[in-house]
């Protein structure tokens, strides 16, 4: 039978229905990283998984039409630069690299723990985009197409 792009209709439909849920859950994990277990790293992995799910179900061409891969690269690099900028800002204001210079707020509220939520978001951007781009790049290699002939 002829192979269509991506997997069957069932997988495509379920991915379509559930991708917003996965993204939302990742954002929830990121934003509550400072008051519950989880945080930027775990949330970033979940967001990367959402993209990966779409890539598995719909194939490469759809991702190219959906998001701009160069833009993902840029997000990754600029989030790393932002992390360093936060560190230097801490050095300028708080007296040490990555010092926590914003007021700590009330315990167990969303706006607490100073700079940690910001750093979580930055780390999440770096991790998710980095992980997805790694998978994307590695999936370019098609061994038996480039290899045995």
């Amino acid at each position: 039978m002829k192979q269509t792009e991506g997997m069957t209709l069932i997988v495509k439909t379920v991915t379509r229905i559930s991708v917003w849920m996965i993204l939302l859950y990742g954002l929830y994990i990121i934003l509550h990283g400072h008051i519950s277990p989880g945080g930027g790293f775990a949330g970033g992995v979940i967001i990367a998984l959402a993209f990966l799910n779409v890539m598995l179900a719909y194939g490469r061409g759809f991702i190219k039409r959906w998001v701009n891969i160069g833009f993902l690269h840029d997000i990754e690099s600029s989030s790393a630069a932002l992390f360093l900028a936060m560190g230097i800002l801490g050095m300028a204001v708080g007296g040490g690299f990555l010092a926590n210079f914003i007021s700590h707020g009330k315990l167990f509220h969303l706006l607490s723990a100073g700079t940690i939520p910001i750093l979580n978001i930055v780390i999440a951007a770096k991790v998710s985009m980095g992980l997805f781009v790694v998978v994307w790049t590695l999936s370019v290699f098609h061994l038996d197409k480039g290899g045995k002939k």
Binding site: H73, D74, S77, S78, A80, A81, L84, G87, I88, G90, M91, G94, G95, G96, F97, L98, A99, N100
Partner: protein, 491 residues
């Protein structure tokens, strides 16, 4: 407050290069050269302001057992000066050498990451942080070895990465045992707590770390990856790997750990001497038989590392002075030799000594500087290599290790022999070589000339007046075993 910038600047430069530079423009070159020049200036400044003091920098404003600290003393700033000096010349050499590859901005970004890793390893005072920076440096080194995209380069990078991963896991295991014993990761704290525990743990950890960092610095039984990796990489990267990476990741950490943290137990010093003398002799013999220029230089690196280890193992003040001086000298002349080989390869397209010859007229700068470097590495009087080897031999005799002194002399003579082979077949001789079309650019020439001048000038470091401000503080940091704990912890 200087030390964190030595890590932040190259890291920021690496990410900015990936962010703003493209295939056509020169932003990558401009940014990386700016970053490295500022790094060199900062490190020289901090070297001359440190003197005999120790400055501690605590991250994120916390106090020392809780936080990661950076330690700035004479030894670390000395190593920083070496790293950034070689990095600057290597970058000058790279600009025209790397031009014909595609995607050059990746090269510069990885180069900056490698400098970040090395500076971090040297600056940090926290043992896990040291591991992390080491992995950063190694990761970019693997990628840079494979940068050319030829089959041998991938193979060499794979071999290097496997050996590097094995040694990294060994080191991580050692760190785990240390943490389980002492419940701390700050090196000074470990040094303070470890003597109160079971002494067998010290020997176990020392053995594991010796295996791990011995693999990183390619001492003789652990050397298998080095000739492949160093001869397959692009020439400026070979210079970085051979000149500073194996020292920053291997020798520096060995000195820091075994002398400042473990307190230089005699059994390890004896092991250093044995390993060092094996490296000197065997690697020299292996180098004699090589006809590939870069492979010969790589084996020569192993043998020179043996000299450094021998000096460390003798353990007297004079011997350590010799070892420290030899670290500096070896960085300079080995980088210079790799630049020479790179420019020859660029001009002739071969590294085989039998196909070269009579390059004196075709490439005057290259052949002159290679002459200087060869004489220096072989240990002939006006050059710096002579003094460091002489000091090590004298120290061996003084400490009544006459056998080791004889081994060092034999190794030195063998070094002279194989570098005479390089000169005889490679740069002199009567073979008719047609004039190469590729001209060596100004950047490459100036990199070689700077290092050749340094080969002569740095002999002056041994003159008593200058020695007291440059090498003596370094030696006193290494020799003063309890001083490290006292200075860092403040008690």
């Amino acid at each position: 407050m200087i030390l964190p910038f030595l890590i932040i600047i190259p890291l920021l430069a690496a990410f900015l290069i990936t962010l703003i530079s493209g295939e056509k423009d020169n932003w990558a070159i401009v940014l990386s050269i700016l970053a490295v020049i500022s790094l060199l200036a900062l490190s020289i400044f901090s070297f001359f302001t440190t003197g005999n003091d120790t400055f501690i920098y605590e991250m994120s404003g916390w106090k020392i057992p809780l936080t990661i600290c950076l330690v700035q003393d004479a030894f670390s700033t000395f190593m920083l000066v070496i790293v950034n000096l070689i990095a600057l010349t290597s970058l000058m050499f790279s600009v025209s050498y790397i031009k014909h590859y595609s995607g050059t901005w990746k090269y510069y970004a990885l180069f900056m990451l490698m400098i970040t890793g090395m500076n971090g390893v040297i600056a940090t005072g926290d043992i896990f942080n040291l591991f992390v920076f080491m992995e950063i440096a190694l990761f970019s080194a693997y990628a840079l070895v494979a940068f050319g995209g030829k089959a041998e380069e991938y193979e060499a990078a794979f071999k290097y990465a496997i050996m590097g991963s094995i040694s990294s896991t060994l080191i991580l295991m050692g760190i785990g045992i240390l943490y389980a014993t002492t419940s701390t990761l700050t090196m000074a704290n470990i040094a303070a707590i470890l003597p109160t525990k079971d002494p067998r743990i010290m020997y176990w950890v020392g053995a594991i770390f010796l295996a791990g960092f011995g693999l990183k610095s390619a001492v003789m039984p652990f050397h298998a990856w080095l000739p492949d990796a160093h001869s397959s990489a692009p020439a400026p990267i070979s210079a970085m790997l051979s000149g500073v990476l194996i020292k920053a990741l291997g020798i520096y950490v060995i000195i820091r750990f075994f002398f400042n943290v473990l307190g230089a137990p005699q059994i390890f010093l004896t092991l250093f001497m044995i390993l060092g003398s094996i490296s000197i002799i065997v690697a020299s013999y292996l180098a004699l038989g090589q006809w590939d220029l870069k492979r010969l230089l790589a084996y020569s690196s192993i043998s020179q590392i043996g000299f450094i280890l021998l000096g460390l193992g003798i353990g007297t003040k004079l011997a350590i002075l010799g070892a420290v001086f030899h670290i500096f000298n070896h960085a300079i002349f080995k980088s210079l030799l790799f630049y020479n080989s790179g420019s020859v390869e660029m001009a002739l397209g071969t590294r085989d000594l039998r196909k070269m010859g009579n390059l004196k007229d075709a490439m005057p700068v290259t052949s002159t500087t290679s002459m200087i470097a060869s004489l220096s590495v072989a240990g002939l009087p006006p050059f710096n290599g002579f003094f460091s080897k002489l000091i090590i031999i004298i120290a061996a005799v003084q400490a009544s290790h006459v056998g080791y002194a004889i081994i060092a002399v034999i190794g030195s003579l063998l070094t002279l022999a194989y570098f005479m082979k390089v000169q005889r077949y490679g740069f002199r001789g009567n073979d008719i070589i047609e004039k190469p079309e590729v001209s060596i650019s100004t950047g490459m020439k100036s990199a070689m000339i700077i290092l050749a001048i340094l080969c002569i000038v740095s002999s002056a470091l041994i003159i008593p007046g200058i020695r007291e401000v440059t090498l003596d503080p370094v030696v006193s940091v290494i020799m003063n075993k309890t001083g490290y704990i006292y200075e860092v912890l403040g008690r």
